[in-house]
Amino acid sequence: MVEHGSSNPRIIMTPKVLLSGVLFPSTPAAKLLNLILEGVNIHVVDSILNEEYELILLHPSLGLPHGRSRDFLNKLASLAEFVVPVPLPFRMKEYYGVDYHLHSLSFSAGCIPVIKPALHYFLGEQGGMIPVYTPEGFLKYEGYFA
């Protein structure tokens, strides 16, 4: 687990971005994952998001090698900053729907960016409370070209 107070940019990565990064090494998601593994960016998780990473990568319908996936998830978790999210007001839960959890986590970690594969359905983008990017958008924002 990383130490708090580090100056490296912190981000929240959805399970889909993680899966893309693992499976498709030439994608912006993979570049983002490499930046995390190199320590340039720090990924922030809570127990729920970490469980979702495991649900996806270890699910038998995906057919990934189980032992290697488990090993990678353990190593990835050792680099993560764990946050306990504070609950947001109930009205916001109604408004943000499925993205409520990501909002709550981002807000608790200091309104850090959420990296999603597509912005289309992300209500938060309209709400403007937290920054939301695609992997490509985030890399461009950070000065990398995917």
Partner: protein, 103 residues
């Protein structure tokens, strides 16, 4: 790189200090830990050193996972590993929905 067993260390703890090289410690025939020498001045950077090792191990784990996935794809044509980002995304949604995580 030297390999010692946990029993060797129990019998002679100095075995780790006598040889200034990296040592793999095994227990019941399996590698369990690695011991490497440090200089006094490195104590200030110990956390950085450990963090560097964590990052390197994570990179190696990712490469192993990708290699394992490629081998599975090549050897097992019926394997369900998604071939593109769109199908990977759909499959993720399906898994999360089944688990009640996505509505």
């Amino acid at each position: 790189m030297k390999i010692v067993t946990s029993r060797d260390i129990k019998n002679n703890p100095n075995i780790l200090l006598d040889d200034p090289s990296e040592t793999i410690i095994t227990s019941r025939g399996r590698p369990k830990a690695i011991c490497f020498p440090i200089e006094e001045h490195e104590l200030n950077f110990l956390e950085d050193l450990i963090q560097t090792i964590r990052h390197s191990r994570a990179k190696v784990a990712l490469e192993r996972l990708r290699t394992g996935t490629m081998i599975l794809r090549a050897n097992d044509k019926g394997n369900p590993i998604p071939e593109d980002e769109v199908s990977a995304s759909r499959l993720s949604d399906k898994i999360l929905r089944e688990q009640g995580r996505l509505f």
